[in-house]
């Protein structure tokens, strides 16, 4: 089976007032379809930078990035935008919903950029919200929703375009543990449905949901191991 993602000695350097910050310092990583990966590491180790790189929000300073056989590091802005739109679903720690748009509208937006007709957009968006259990909150705005509900809207938005991979950067970081558990349940079941998921977390018990855990340190992969399933019983 072809790799979904392959990173080859990816570097991302920032020039901060003459001083070079090596946020990613030679990362090699291969990700297959339907993998469930967690990324851990101390603050500043480059987790978010790596996620942005995989999510095609950022381009490497050096290295080769292949996504479904396409060379991402050679792409221009429009191609990157298109990949983000069609192939990648992003979930952020701070939800990043459009504050003045309803849940439905938020989920609809990626489909606008995918140039999908209005009726189809609404249908798909409703289905995605249904899948995260929010069919009764479609016309609420983010400030009328709880944190857990907001994150579920974000997940619906990430999934609405049937992406090849779901990237979640500390998705439970801003949530209480109960909401966090709910979110993780959703991610688990999405994985069971065949989705590929990468999530960043500081919490061991969250990382344990994944099948594979990658430890970053100073922009390098320090450890990459299979994790024994210790999922909380899905009763």
């Amino acid at each position: 089976m072809a790799d979904l993602i392959s990173l080859n000695s990816i570097k991302r350097h920032y020039d901060v007032g003459g001083e070079i910050v090596r946020a990613l310092d030679g990362v090699d990583l291969t990700i297959n379809k339907n993998e469930y990966i967690s990324i851990m590491g101390p603050s500043g180790s480059g987790k978010s930078t790596l996620m942005n790189m995989i999510g095609c929000l950022d381009s490497p300073s050096e290295g080769i990035y292949e996504f479904e056989g396409e060379l991402v590091h050679e792409m221009d802005d429009n191609q990157l935008a298109s990949i983000r739109n069609r192939k990648i679903g992003f979930v952020f720690q701070t939800f990043n919903l459009l504050p003045k748009a309803t849940a439905l509208r938020n989920v609809e937006v990626p489909l606008i950029y995918a140039n999908i007709s209005r009726s189809e957009r609404i249908e798909k968006a409703k289905k995605a919200l249904d899948a995260v259990g929010l069919n009764d909150r479609m016309h609420h705005k983010p400030n009328e929703l709880s944190g857990g509900q907001r994150q579920r809207v974000a997940i619906a938005r990430a999934l609405v375009n049937d992406p090849s991979i779901l990237l979640a950067d500390e998705p439970t970081g801003n949530l209480d543990s109960k909401s966090g558990v709910e979110i993780m349940k959703i991610l688990d079941s999405l994985h069971d449905d065949g989705n590929t998921i990468i999530l960043v977390t500081h919490e061991e018990y969250i990382a344990d949901h994944a099948d594979r855990t990658i430890h970053l340190f100073d922009g390098k992969i320090k450890e990459d191991r299979k994790t024994s399933k210790r999922r909380s019983v899905s009763s």
């Binding site: 429009n78 935008a81 298109s82 459009l98 950029y113």
Partner: protein
Amino acid sequence: MAKFSHVKSTIREGFRMAIEAIRQNKLRSILTLLGISIGVFSVIGVMTAIRTLESSVNSQLDILGTNTFTIQKSPAIQIHGPGGDRKIRQRKNITYTHYEEMKRKAKLPLRVSVLDETGERNIRYKDKTLKRSAELLGADEWALRSINTYLADGRNFTPDDIRFARNVTILGPDIVDILFPFEDPIGRAIKIKGIDYTVIGVTERKGQAFGQSQDDFVLIPISLYIQRFSNRWTSLAIVFEAESADMYEKTMDEAIGLMRVVRKVPVEEENDFSIISNEELMETFAGFTGGIKIFAGSVSVIALLVAGIGIMNIMLVSVTERIKEIGIRKAIGATKRDILSQFLMEAIFLSQFGGVVGVILGITGGNIVAIVLNVPAVVPMDWAFYGMAVCSLIGIGFGIYPAWRAANLDPIESLRFE
């Protein structure tokens, strides 16, 4: 095909987003809109007002007939060059004798009428008096045609009425209203300055034009008028009407030639009278409205420029406020072009909403002038269209830079922006 539907949906989405953005910032948007509205209002308002004037002037000139011209002592509009005014004042008056000679000598078929007017308040019938001044016109049998009115009742002057200076009169309906509220005026004798005149006719009611009644006059034979109401400044206006448009030039040439003979103007000297034609009046009017148009045009250019800067300012603020939103949109797949068109569309719609308000207010305001002047209202579709087109251009011209800034924001940094 796919491309076209994409453009269509981009515009539709842009419109939706613009409405949302405007609704979310009502006060700010309204203030920005106001600038555009005022600019568009000023130009549309003036253009509408001028259009109503033009159409009313044109229709009046039309009814007067394109084949008429007038010879009188002074030009319709006097330009006060050095000594110009005095030169005109020193011209000989146009007298009743001139008129009679013109009539007698003319070879080409033409209608000649003659007019002069004065204000007169001493007009009464039995115990009823006018209590104010009315227009007293000296006229001949063609004068009704020259002042563009028709008889409602009775008869016109006959050539004999004029020749023998008979004591007869034709009244405008305003005068009839006051002197004969319950009586048929035909055949009755009214007193003007104590002398009896028999009413032979009443004209149709015309209503108001330019805020003045057009029905407030008393006509008497010009010959009688000369005897009783003229003074040493009285100079008549002689109206000529050619038989057809083809004959117009010839008729005018003949009239000018005759007038020179009658007034004994030496060959080498220029005319000692003025010829006023409809074309000349229209040209004068066009020159006058042209000046106003240029003035209104420059005022609105300045207003729209200021409004455009306002739009640019508001769009820059809006971009700054929405950096996070831009980051989110980019993260979920918006291209530079999507962001650019979103903000550009917002600027265009913002200025077009302002434009619509300005057009509506402008047409309303311009037509208030029409109502005041009692001329028919007009809707200048062409100007409304130009107004909206200019608004789009303003939206694009002043919106492009903020939109470009938004489109080129870095997605990660925008997402991190708080």
